[in-house]
Symmetry: D2
Subunit: 372 residues, 4 copies
């Protein structure tokens, strides 16, 4: 209720501040009988952790996860699974005057006015570091969904500032530091140059991230409010720095005619996927396709006009180690949020309609990713 729990049936309650003793989460509702150990979770954490290239924050956080409960003899028991990640690299001295003044574009101002108190160390609770426990929880969700339905998640950066990255193949995503689904070396070099320039200038840039889920049963989602796409929008807009969310054709559908937008059905499946895998709030069995806009990092070295707590004008400069593009590490996070939405709806569907209906032969096979 106070906004730190995600999901209703597979609920993830997170805690922690960027520079406090620890961060973590409690996962309530994981079905029993799933084989699970830290080895299932750590690789997903490693995908999002800082310090993996020169284009992301150089803060060193091993982000080693410990399972505190809910697993017995390597199998989930149906009781809450607590994940704990101790904070290690807590250099707080770098934050300059930001404890007394507000960074433009940052949560400093709103936390202060909401609570009357805030933890300024590393952004406190508003730090993107708090996505780590979620990625950990989603690793469990992904494993379960994969076992049940063969579901897989894929994601890539499709735009970095004004550099558009045409989709080539998912296999490229891990060959470059940007999660770009492209094998175009010149394009990757352009991206690296753009990042180097920004870093020197003490500035930052936005990005667009695409994620998809494949092999989803038909029927997930609720008819009016807890629509599958509504919950996806909620999940994505809740990621730090996200300012826009699209499902399927997204904003392109504004200019489409109905005769073009509506994906025709054939006995062997849908033709096209403007729907993004959701019709009337319920999954069609096609790929779920989502695209998000990530704003530029608000903590930059460039001095900017602001005010302090007493309302006096000040210039704010942020020191410390920040990602010049928070979008770079956002791909695994967006995948994670999508996985959390889907497992919640899968469990809800099971409550409402039982196991059987999920097994309905899917006459709507997933579209090839390139068809987006």
């Amino acid at each position: 209720m106070s906004g730190n729990t995600f999901g209703k049936l597979f609920s993830v309650t997170t805690f922690g501040e960027s520079h406090g003793p620890a961060i973590g989460c409690v996962i309530d509702g994981c079905p029993p009988g799933l084989p699970l150990s830290e080895a299932d979770i750590q690789p997903e954490l490693d995908r999002r952790k800082p310090g993996t290239s020169r284009h992301v924050t150089q803060r060193k956080e091993p982000d080693t996860v410990e399972i505190l409960s809910g697993v017995y003899q390597g199998v989930t028991t149906g009781t809450p699974i607590a994940l704990l990640i101790r904070n290690e690299d807590q250099r707080s001295k770098d934050y300059g005057n930001i404890t007394e003044s507000f960074r433009p574009g940052h949560a400093d101002y709103t936390y202060w006015h909401k609570y009357g108190v805030r933890d300024p160390r590393g952004g406190g609770r508003s730090s993107a570091r708090l996505t780590a426990p979620v990625v950990g929880a989603a690793a469990i969700a992904k494993k379960w969904l994969n076992q049940q339905y063969g579901t897989v998640f894929k994601g890539c950066m499709s735009q970095l500032g004004d550099i558009v990255v045409p989709f080539q193949d998912w296999s490229h995503v891990h060959d470059n530091p940007f999660f770009a689904a492209s094998g175009d070396a010149a394009l990757i070099a352009r991206m690296e140059d753009a990042m180097d320039e920004l870093r020197k200038a003490g500035d930052s840039i936005g990005a667009r991230i695409d994620v998809i889920a494949q092999n989803i049963p038909v029927g997930l989602g609720q008819p009016i409010y807890d629509k599958l796409d509504a919950d996806i929008a909620y999940a994505m807009m809740g990621i730090n720095a996200v300012k826009g969310v699209e499902i399927g054709a997204g904003f392109k559908s504004v200019e489409q005619k109905g005769s073009v937008h509506g994906d025709s059905l054939t006995p062997t499946g849908f033709i096209g996927n403007n729907a993004g895998g959701v019709l009337g709030g319920i999954s069609t069995g096609q790929d779920i396709t989502v695209s998000i806009a990530i704003k530029p990092t608000s903590s930059i070295r460039t001095p900017r006009q602001s005010i302090d707590k007493d309302g006096n004008p000040v210039m704010v400069e942020t020191f410390g180690r920040h990602d010049p593009c928070v979008g770079i590490r956002a791909t695994p996070i967006a995948e994670a949020m999508l996985a959390l939405v889907l497992i919640d709806h899968a469990l809800m569907h099971r409550a409402q309609c039982g196991d059987v209906r999920v097994a309905t032969p899917n006459i709507a096979p997933a579209m090839p990713p390139a068809a987006r």
Copy 2:
């Protein structure tokens, strides 16, 4: 939990199908002591009702609302307020073969596979008609927010298919059938022509809608998941036919640098509103600004390729009366959803932080609407 309730503290549970006996909702959590009668609600319903121009469905629904509970001697009592709207114009005969086959782009397919049964009359539960009770509930929310904080809501259509409508002034919104904030007669004529042509062609088109809320206290929203913008995205994506949501600069922020995107603060307020009134998930006190993409109506007269319940290929034609652009009537609905999100967060903030903090002098006055 089963997706028919919106909001946690000001909860709206809706019921009804397009062509069943009645539609309505139960509002739980309206604060006591608010003067209220049907006269506060009916005008909002009239703004969204069908049959007001030739560009929307000619279905005639008076949509007369009755308050069944929660009000005594003209004042809310703190107990649930039930709103009832009887369905009157239930011509079901026009629906042709759609009871046995699935319209492309429509919820027919997913409802059938989820539930194994569906009410095909007028789209059943998936009909946009179900936004009527929500608009009714939001009329109450708007009144309360206005009394408490002076909050006002404004909305307009900013794009119809490929016709962009440059913002001129809110005063124009009610002078044309499109909710366009423009006094440009030639532009309005172009829109009318485009709609007439579509109607003749038996096709439909998408639209973009902008809504804002002004005079919002600083501090509404939760830090991690129930962020104000996440809940807005959830609310907007849940509206029938919405495929994309933006807050503030939205997808434009992908190409922005941090030094440009971050709204600077001065002792008299923010400069710019790329944030759309939300930082770190919490309201800044600026205008909340939201933009949504609405797909073209999926029920069109043009015959399309589809399948029937048994998976056999069929051609589907939809008869009956449909909006060729569901976006035309979407403006009051989007305003309504925004109002429901805001009252919920206002009550939650009061729970967490008490009355006092809401009264914090707002050093961040709302930006003029034109500054979007």
Copy 3:
């Protein structure tokens, strides 16, 4: 969240005041495919309605239920089911000075101080009349549980004031106006005399009600907070006038030794049912057995010392038509609440563990009722 919704997966949101235009509820989460019409619901409403004997209020309410949504061609569709009951016999003139003063033992005082406004007509929202929609909703729950598991519900009055009613057989429950499971004509006569005397004296009396559910699958309930017995206690204590709840051996377990209390297991089932069908918060497959204490009606003709809204001393006399023992009509209500708890847990169990586990061969057959 504001306390007018019962249940999480089979959610019942009620509305209405005793003497307002209507009462009713919206049921969200009823599984699709259940055959349903008003004829399934009305008989349960008739069991609790007033005016059926001289021992209950003579208020005449036909309590005719109308299904407004969620059913198509005689089958539930998975969408919300709204039930509407119009109020008809609204004689408000009988309530004397109670609009300005507070009846001892009644909600008048607390509603006034909580909300600053209250609907005094017939007790407004605090009237036991508001149990009618719940009984209606529970009729649907009972039907589903019976189809799935063969579950049946039984209830009886086991004590009226100081008259204890020894259990003989469930078949007697409908042969007397008290829901007594006894064929002892002399005992029934004693109860009738006691009630006549009370009515003449303008006073009221308490009662004890027992309810059981038979044929419940093993495994329903959550380990820590949403224990099956905790949710039953919540449901029962929420019934108007209830002051105590017991599961299984209840308060008798205070004096029991562990070697006596713990029900032994054998290959063919449990020996004894001190547990009341719940161990560690989870159903054992035995009968669920519950007992509740109902306080005497607070609206009595006997004048009593009280205060008015301004804090001045007054004498309060209640006129109008009241049950001298609200416990008499409480049996179907207690059964209804038990049914609502069980369907919610049945759906939750299905979400968590799937259909299969519910089918686990139950080596713990229900105990015969007499074994309580």
Copy 4:
């Protein structure tokens, strides 16, 4: 939703198993600005911890609590507060054949059938050890309630098996190992003898616990389902081993007449407190009074008839260290649950009605405790 979170606005999500690496909880919704450190929490944990007298389990658990988040510079920030307690004394070898068979009266049987897997070490999740994090969370709730309203909590054991403990004075509660509110040395000696005898016999016994809350504002609680007393019943019945709950006069109200039960009002307060401080589900401002029945410990040394996982008959003996009366340590736990219910309702009331109404002059001062 999956039953490991208590409370809606002050939500406590617990995790952990008796003999796993750690237990703990995440508290979401604690208002900001409350001074807080481990020193506020540890004393409450110490009141319930094992090993404090020979009458409770000799298991040694220091139960040292660590705050992981939500506190900055000694003050709560409004973000989640995570409490961690490492398990230290994990002697698992003592449990004999209970990993393969089911103890009568214990959750072994139901966990196994629900989940298909269970952690048998020390009772796993069903251990009373899991009340420790709740007591820790409640220490925070108590502190906040005390600061806001001067609320205080008191509790005592009023019956041990068949030994009734007449209430003398709260000051005695900490002078004996039973939380008895009695200075009668002979009575205490009788209780000690009874416990020694039980321990020797390898058996266990039940108990009755009373708890009260004083200085509660009028107006807390919801009208229909989330009644204050319903939520208290839920909280209390959820404590391990509780089989019955009473509010105010409880089961005694069955035999009371309305003219006796209803507490009269005078300009200076209520006369009597049969209501237990709740009318119509809403607090009156009087003391909240609650009484609970605790069954005898189910883990006893006496051999008992049972079955193993395969349904074969076995004799079960429990070794290891168990409380012969779990009721002895239940008093601080019952206080804790009451505190958690009250803070949740206090915050909810603030959401609904704002700060002001809580300050309504309370014309209903709390009754002296002895008046129960």
